[in-house]
């Protein structure tokens, strides 16, 4: 973070220095990949070199976004021999996503957790999960009193279950904290991360009152045949170590009009996802007809994730 020193150097010299640094780093990365020689991956190396200098996603024109996407797709093909399809679908007009969780119905099967890990290409090695399910005793109302590591037959007598994930706050403290503007709230209400712009300082993690963010402490590892190939630039595309990531309401699905993977996987129908601005949506029905509540309202973060009881 010796930006002061760097500031004094003009842009050209800086880029040169950074370029040589990137060559060293890039070489290390390419050589390390599945024993491929330097010669065989010179094309990949050139693309990684360009990737290193690319702009923040929000500053890219659509043409630049298309270029980076095609680069990333080619890299996936070259390095892992898989064909992925990364899209950059923009938020639709008059859409604001919201989520509701039926505390009465959830029975703690954790199908949602598995579906989420698979859909979002989350690291298997560190067992990272966006969704946490807490087993609660009656009389408790906040997941921090519950048991998040239960391992037995569910549902357990005298208990109920609460799911927790990123609540996509309307007033997100993580966005305020990020020193590089690498995380922000999209117009459809989803808080996203530009993985490639994140420097991994983890200030957003400290700022989140819901423990909604996950860091890649190690290089993520996903079995090749389990990789979800339909990807979004701000969603489930591949990440490397040192990047922050989080639940994006399955942006690769929701922006195409589908429900999130967790909603689809839930065997009890405890999860409701939809457009808050659509008066006929199920989420609006829940908000208007059920007794709903949110976690840590006193912090003023205005989460778009409600709990309700039948």
């Amino acid at each position: 973070m010796d930006s002061d020193k760097k500031k004094k150097i003009d842009r050209r010299t800086f880029l040169k220095g950074a370029a040589s640094a990137a060559i060293v780093g890039g070489t290390a990365v390419t050589v390390g990949c599945e024993g491929k020689g330097l010669l065989g991956s010179s094309e990949a190396f050139a693309m990684e070199f360009t990737e290193y200098f690319k702009k923040h996603y929000r500053l890219m024109t659509q043409a630049e976004r298309d270029q980076t996407v095609s680069r990333l797709e080619k890299l996936a093909k070259l390095k892992q021999n898989i064909t992925v399809n990364i899209d950059t679908t923009q938020p639709a007009e008059n859409v604001l996503y919201g989520y509701a969780f039926n505390v009465t119905r959830c029975e703690g099967y954790m199908e949602c957790v598995q579906a989420c890990v698979k859909e979002n290409n989350i690291d298997r090695k560190s067992n990272t999960q966006y969704i946490r399910i807490f087993e609660m005793e009656h009389g408790q109302m906040s997941p921090d009193q519950g048991e998040g590591k239960y391992f037995h037959m569910v549902p357990k007598e005298g208990h109920f279950y609460m799911g927790v994930q990123c609540f996509q706050c309307e007033n997100p403290p993580c966005v305020k904290a990020c020193p590089t503007k690498a995380t922000w709230k999209e117009p459809d209400g989803i808080v996203v991360v530009d993985y490639d712009w994140c420097i991994g300082c983890r200030y957003c993690m400290a700022a989140c009152p819901y423990w909604g963010r996950r860091f890649n402490w190690n290089q993520p590892q996903i079995p090749k045949d389990e990789i979800t190939k339909e990807q979004h630039y701000l969603g489930n595309r591949s990440r490397v170590r040192g990047m922050m990531e989080k639940c994006t309401f399955c942006i690769q699905r929701s922006r195409k009009g589908k429900v999130t993977a967790c909603v689809e996987a839930c065997p009890t129908g405890a999860r409701v996802f939809g457009n808050l601005l659509d008066p006929d949506s199920e989420i609006r029905f829940v908000l208007e007809n059920k007794k709903v509540y949110r976690l840590k309202e006193d912090l003023g973060t205005d989460p778009k994730f409600w709990y309700f009881i039948d």
Binding site: M1, T128, K176, W197, C201, F215, W217
Partner: protein
């Protein structure tokens, strides 16, 4: 060295500084070798971390900041403490402290170098650090307190490096520095010193997600502990300078520093007591972190011995310094200074950062202690800081001594 003042330029200044730094007694050479070894340990540690990622540390999604950020927080205080010498010597024209103000500034530079190194090694993707630079990157200013911290730390480093550099360079050339060229920056640096520590406190204080940090006393307490630990470290450096060089420090300077340290340490202890009272008189759900720190929760009590050690040695150090049983023999106060420094380092480092993150917002409790890679890198950064301080201080003191001698001869 003080004769041909006209032929001396920047080049000979740099050359002389380098020569002075490399020459010295056998003991000094051994000392330099030890510092280089420490730095090599750090390089090895960082090599491992660069290869494995931050998984080489013991940090996790719950304790997401650990030993690096703890040390960073403590050292920002050390850097800010230079103001306790700058303020009396420039504003109140205190002649005694004026003689050692340069040492305070050099310690600040060393501390800042260590601060920035600690933040840098804590980054998950150091190669992308250029994303912070306005123009080619995007700095989230003024929204992110981390952006503020980057700006104020770099600004303070520039002030504390350039002001003494100008003064020493003038003295090297045998000239009196021109007040209007540097005095405005001196006054700026006084405000700036307070700013670096307040901003660093706000970094934590501004997070409602972490009740242990979200506390309006954080900023003032940071300053109080800084003005105790910082001058204590400067005192230590002065003792070393006094016993190893011919730049002699008078007893009354140590005494003045001692009074500054004691006052700040007492204010710090008062504020600590105020915080402990709030947490334990009527413990709420938000007192969990303090419980974890002082007594342990669910069998996770790795921090408990540390914090009690910190508080005890803090108290003992403060009492010895306050009553000064050794009167004019300042050297006997060294253990008390060290006790106080270590006490504040624990209390403000790992005793502040880790409990802020545990229990997690979802109530999970874990233990944390630094991994060997974290310790290697920390050792390396401390070596780097000591190296920077030595390399700046040695030529500066030789020049100051020569200038002083020439000045007194002249009179």
């Amino acid at each position: 060295m003080k004769k041909d003042t006209t032929s001396k330029g920047l080049f000979s200044f740099a050359k002389d500084a380098l020569l002075w730094n490399l020459s010295g007694s056998v003991g000094y050479q051994i000392y330099l070798c030890i510092l280089v070894c420490l730095m090599l340990i750090g390089v090895y540690g960082y090599f491992l971390q660069f290869k494995l990622g931050l998984s080489a540390t013991n940090m996790s999604n719950i304790v997401s900041w650990g030993f690096y950020i703890s040390n960073f927080t403590f050292l920002v205080g050390v850097a800010a403490a230079a103001v306790m010498l700058i303020l009396p010597s420039y504003v109140f024209n205190d002649k005694d402290l004026h003689k050692v103000v340069i040492i305070g500034e050099v310690v600040a530079v060393g501390a800042l170098v260590m601060c920035m190194s600690f933040v840098f090694v804590d980054l998950g993707r150091p190669m992308q650090a250029w994303h912070l630079i306005p123009g080619i990157g995007q700095l989230n200013f003024p929204s992110s307190l981390l952006a503020w911290d980057i700006l104020v730390l770099n600004g303070y480093l520039a002030l504390n490096a350039l002001i003494p550099a100008y003064i020493v360079y003038c003295h090297y050339k045998g000239k009196e520095p021109v007040g209007k060229y540097y005095k405005p920056f001196v006054f700026l640096s006084i405000g700036w010193a307070v700013a670096i520590h307040m901003v660093t406190a706000f970094l934590y204080q501004g997070l409602p997600a972490r009740p242990f940090w979200n506390n309006p006393l954080m900023g003032p307490r940071f300053l109080a502990s800084a003005f105790a630990a910082g001058p204590a470290i400067i005192s230590l450096v002065l003792h070393i300078v006094n016993s190893t060089t011919d730049y002699k420090i008078e007893n009354k300077i140590f005494n003045k520093l001692r009074i500054i340290i004691v006052s700040a340490a007492i204010i710090n202890l008062l504020m600590l007591f105020s915080e402990i009272f709030k947490e334990f008189y009527f413990p709420t759900h938000h007192s969990q972190s303090a419980m974890y720190l002082f007594f342990g929760l669910d069998g996770h009590n790795s921090l408990v011995p540390w914090i009690w050690t910190a508080i005890s040695i803090n108290l003992i150090g403060t009492l010895i310094l306050a009553f000064n049983p050794f009167k004019e023999r300042q050297i006997f106060l060294l253990p008390a200074l060290i006790l106080l420094i270590v006490g504040i380092w624990i209390e403000k480092g790992i005793g502040l950062i880790v409990p802020g993150l545990v229990p997690s917002p979802m109530g999970e409790i874990v233990s944390y202690s630094p991994s060997s890679v974290e310790l290697f890198i920390t050792v390396g950064i401390v070596g780097l800081g000591m190296f920077v301080i030595t390399m700046l201080l040695k030529p500066a003191l030789i020049i100051e001594k020569n200038y002083e001698d020439a000045y007194s001869e002249h009179r």
